[in-house]
Symmetry: C2
Subunit: 479 residues, 2 copies
């Protein structure tokens, strides 16, 4: 386990302590319903459960905001709100930043306007912009009015960038220096600061008009002769971003070049902010999280303890799409009802062809979507990919088609049925291979994210296609 020095408990242990205290608090509350019984006993019990809450508050005070966020996410809504009320008001803002979107919604719904303004007011402008989509309009206006002019401009800018842009990851905590001063001057300047912003691994070298000229890594600053000029030691080849670039591209650059921070400049080359690795890590986590969720058929991050009704809403879209594809497959089978009435075995065998086809198609699509995300597919190599996938599908079709053909023969004692099974399997895997490459490429071409929906599409194609191929072949050769 990670440990914040030897004496601190791990976050899982903290969660268990919190749950234990909440449980004791609930028992005490249940044992002493208000306005009933012996007043002296009531007083004692009120004291007891006040004590539990005081202990709980002390525990929460010692936790890192990210750990409090974790505990809030793991608690059912009722207990979550008890804990939230115990969190000190001055920590509300930083904790709201850490919790998941779904849980943040439940916390904000529980706070009044004044509390929200106070919580938001403690944050940096880039952090306020992150919270803004979840806050009531009046709260944002109140906070906006309370800011100094420069920060108002920053907030306005930060709120204007789309969620998946570099601008949304950016913060404004930059230390900039001129290139015509000596290292010693820079060191003296830094020493006058109370503290430096987190993740300051480099200073930004700018001219009089704030145009970025170079970077001065702290590590270079420390090993340089204090008498040299900044211009002589600064780095002139570096990665920089524009606020309207895709966050995804910035994340790839951070991964590839092992960056800790990177400058963001406007169209004219003026320094306007920076991106740090912690923002990138959070972005990567959120992005892969939402890919996993959409692969599982969930519209968005779901609060583990969301109401039944909210969960139904979060899940309905996917089920509706699948229902439509299932109806289509059902009608494809409907065409061949006469054949099935004559050879009932077809009904039992057809899901095998459809199922393995879907599987094989998803394997292809997973690989293609991944290569597209990494930008590894070009017009020149797409043909090679087609050839490879078709080769794989023919070999797999013959191997697994042979196995299912044997299965059909052993159970139904008809070699003709076995041969039709094998043939249908080869054809459906071929269909899966061709569409497994084509579907994501076409979606990419149409400007849509191939990671979303490709899997549903390929499954729909191999289901309906598989039923059609198998029942069609059977109708032609067996009926």
């Amino acid at each position: 386990m990670a440990e914040l020095d030897e004496n601190r408990p791990s976050v899982q242990e903290s969660l268990e302590q919190v749950m234990e205290l909440l449980h004791r608090h609930e028992l005490a509350t249940a044992a002493a319903p208000r306005g009933e019984g012996d007043p002296r006993r009531e007083l004692v019990e009120t004291l007891v459960h006040t004590l539990h809450l005081a202990e709980l508050q002390k525990l929460l005070d010692e936790l890192h905001p990210a750990d409090v966020a974790y505990i809030l996410e793991a608690l059912p809504v009722k207990q979550r709100l008890i804990v939230w009320d115990l969190v000190r008001a001055e920590r509300d803002g930083e904790i709201l930043l850490e919790v998941s979107d779904a849980v943040r919604e439940t916390l904000i719904a529980h706070m009044d306007e004044k509390e929200l303004v106070a919580a938001t007011g403690q944050l940096d402008t880039d952090e306020i912009a992150d919270l803004a989509p979840d806050l009531p309009r009046e709260v944002i206006l109140d906070v906006f009015k309370s800011l100094p002019v420069e920060e108002r401009e920053q907030l306005r800018a930060a709120m204007s960038y789309p969620e998946d842009s570099v601008g949304a990851l950016m913060d404004f905590d930059v230390i900039s220096v001129r290139d015509d001063v000596r290292i010693e001057v820079v060191l003296r300047y830094l020493r006058r600061l109370d503290e430096m912003p987190d993740h300051t691994d480099q200073l930004f070298v700018v001219d009089r008009e704030e145009h970025l000229k170079g970077l001065l890594p702290i590590n270079r600053l420390l090993v340089s002769d204090p008498e040299t000029l900044v211009a002589a030691v600064m780095v002139k080849e570096y990665v920089q971003f524009h606020p309207d670039e895709k966050a995804q591209d910035a994340a790839l650059a951070f991964e590839r070049y092992d960056l800790v921070s990177a400058p963001v400049v406007d169209g004219g080359g003026k320094l306007i902010g920076r991106v740090t690795v912690n923002a990138v890590v959070d972005f990567i986590r959120e992005e892969t999280d939402s890919e996993m969720l959409s692969a599982g058929g969930l519209r968005e991050d779901e609060d583990l303890f969301a109401s039944v009704w909210k969960s139904v809403k979060n899940r309905w879209a996917w089920l509706a799409i699948n229902l439509v594809t299932a109806f289509i497959a059902s009608r494809v089978i409907g065409i061949f009802e006469e054949s099935i009435a004559r050879i009932v075995a077809l009904a039992a065998l057809m899901p095998i062809i459809a199922g393995i086809g879907g599987n094989s198609g998803n394997q292809t699509i997973t690989m293609i979507v991944r290569a597209l995300a990494l930008g590894q597919i070009t017009a020149a190599n797409a043909r090679k990919l087609f050839a490879k996938e078709i080769g794989v599908s023919i070999i797999n079709g013959l191997i697994w088609g042979g196995v299912v053909g044997l299965f059909a023969f052993l159970i139904y004692h008809s070699w003709q049925l076995g041969v039709v099974m094998t043939g249908a399997m080869v054809l459906n895997l071929l269909l899966a291979a061709v569409m497994g490459v084509t579907v994501p490429l076409v979606m990419q071409k149409l400007g849509r994210d191939p990671a979303v929906g490709s899997s549903v599409m390929i499954t729909a194609i191999t289901d309906s296609g598989g039923f059609f191929i198998f029942l069609g072949l059977a109708t032609v050769f067996l009926v």
Copy 2:
């Protein structure tokens, strides 16, 4: 696009240039088959394609190792090896570290022992350990013998940690200082270094026996009075890891506490190395990558241009498992062949029940697997989750069951068939909900990774279960 200053091309543009040069090189080679035709023409053409290769080499020399790795991954094997031969030998090691496992295999297979020893010899011990699993035994022994004693020990240690442990992420580039010296002494000590290791955001404060006493963040070092002692400004509460902890836990800690580096200590508290955020980012990427791949039914990272045979091997396990579950489902249908023979509509309708059940089960499982990975499920809240999922499944069952019941009625004009469809849908979604919570919890209890295989299992259950429920109800009430 990310840019390494304004003049450098993006990595995608570099890839296109490389492909263009390779293409011209191939044309030149094809136009002049060796040992044939006019010797003067041959000489000219040899010169021409040598020029292409020289230009290509110059381009490669200017690229960051991560970008060369990207280009190697995006090229079919033949072209990949041409490019690999053009990469300067002294860069082989760092590029091998950057490419994916599957592509690394193709590159290593193309190198002889001497080249491999030379490439590996340039790396740090922790990096050698990362490559070791892919290297021939003799190469590792040769490299091992060439190392100084201290580094041999490091390599031995680094190779002993399992792949998913903190030890595997660790490097040995630590700068440590004593707590009884003045800041000024530390600054002078640093100035004597040529450069500091990447990602040095803090120095490690140790005692005479190398026991870790605290951390000295560079940012604090810079703003402190040079006359104060290290002991007075060092941080005493910090996150530290042991080399045998799970890498996953370290990654969570880096995300939660926004770390850039963190110390690794042995059981006795001695500093043995550090973990940096770039290793953590790579780990997160690899881990989510492999989750996506296994969700898509691929055993491991597949080289986009792997041979057909290698791809077949990478994919067969998953297809085999699915074939078994498809056979079982097929036999479940087989039990009811008589009912299907009487009411053929059952064959067309049954995939709808099975399909939506699988879908709904996967939604539940996605949420539970995610909550398990974050450690948010405890004995106390598991019951609440069950209740919620059952609630969701009953509502969804009634809504979507109603829709499919209506569909059946409209097509087959039998209200009894519609009612059986609705009932079967409710029951199958209930089954999906209960098993969607139970399967991952049981897998976790048995010490297996619930992310792997849960989805196959739930689909198998809702397929066979759905067929059984629907055909069973139909047999009882309709036949």
